[in-house]
Amino acid sequence: MRYGIFRGNKKLTGQIDNWSELCVNNQIISHHMQEKQTMEERLWDFIDGLSDAEEKSAIQKLIEENLEWKRAYHELLEAHQLLHQTDLEQPSMRFTRNVMEEIAKYKVAPATSTYINKKIIWGIGGFFLIMIVGFLIYGFSQINWTAASGNDPLSQVNVDKLNWSRFFSSTYTNIFMMINVILGLVLLDLYLHRKKEKAREEVS
């Protein structure tokens, strides 16, 4: 039994020894791979002409003096040249004619910037701005500034006790809302009309 435990421990210790050795080996391998990766990245930059003058001369020196760099450089250069030599795929002989027959049915669409009318954008922006400003003016005009005795006038406003229906049942508010709604509908109509015109133009 003791012998068994001893043997087991020894086996375990042995495994740990191997394991730590394995870890060290892995570290060496990963370090080597990282170095190789950096070397390849620098060489690709050199081949693509992306390195600066200083880096260029440093790599040229490394290629001349270091056998590993020289071998890797020639390998990558070979791959680079091969990639440049590859042929492009060719479509069928009728390709251009097919495209030209197809485009004969169409007209060049007007540039996006021309049919997205800036006036409409400004109009919509203005509509919302008028609404916000209108509501703010109306809201402020309803506040009784003199009644506030404290420093903070907002603390005097009891939101729960506010009579909201008073704001929205006023004739002026209703008129203001109606004008805004009509303005909005006019803008929408303008937009849809232009869109319809454009579609008609394309069909003709």
Binding site: E40, F95, N98, M100, E102, I103, T114
Partner: protein, 195 residues
Amino acid sequence: MQGSLTDTEIISRVLKGEQPLFANLVERYQNYVFTLVLRFVEGREDAEELSQDIFVKAYRSLADFRGESKFSTWLYTIVRTSCITFLRKRKLDTTSIDNEKTYLQLESQESNFKANSIEAKSRQAMVNQAINLLSPGDAQLITLFYKGEQTLEEIGTIIGIDPNTVKVKLHRARQRLREKMEKYFSHEVRDIQGE
């Protein structure tokens, strides 16, 4: 005479109503567009149809080309969006073109390519086959950089990412391409290196 016109000159004349001149642009870029589409779409028929649609789209929105970039960069942006839309319509999961599902599909193709590797007689054919084994995202990056004559900044504009990220992605794509070449065309690669 018309062949010597620049892209911008052709575009301004097409916009003025000289529709037949658009054929020059089609001639000039059809191979680039078709190759890029083939990186996304399997089958030449589908790729050709989609390439035609791309040129029609480009023609229709030609007025939107403001000349801020090269025409090719603008066109490749249409290629990319059209391909992604096409794949979505095909009910393929294209949330990421580099996703696992795409890889799985490609992995299943690999055995066929391996069997046909003997047929890869020329270097170009071998590289093209290896590019086809990559994910569409990697294949597209390599094609744009090497064949589409696009800079890292321009590729960034097309894909919608930062040029530095493009650089990192391109580096990884080339690394994966070399792995594929070593895995499936080791014999041919040795022949090339031995020359």
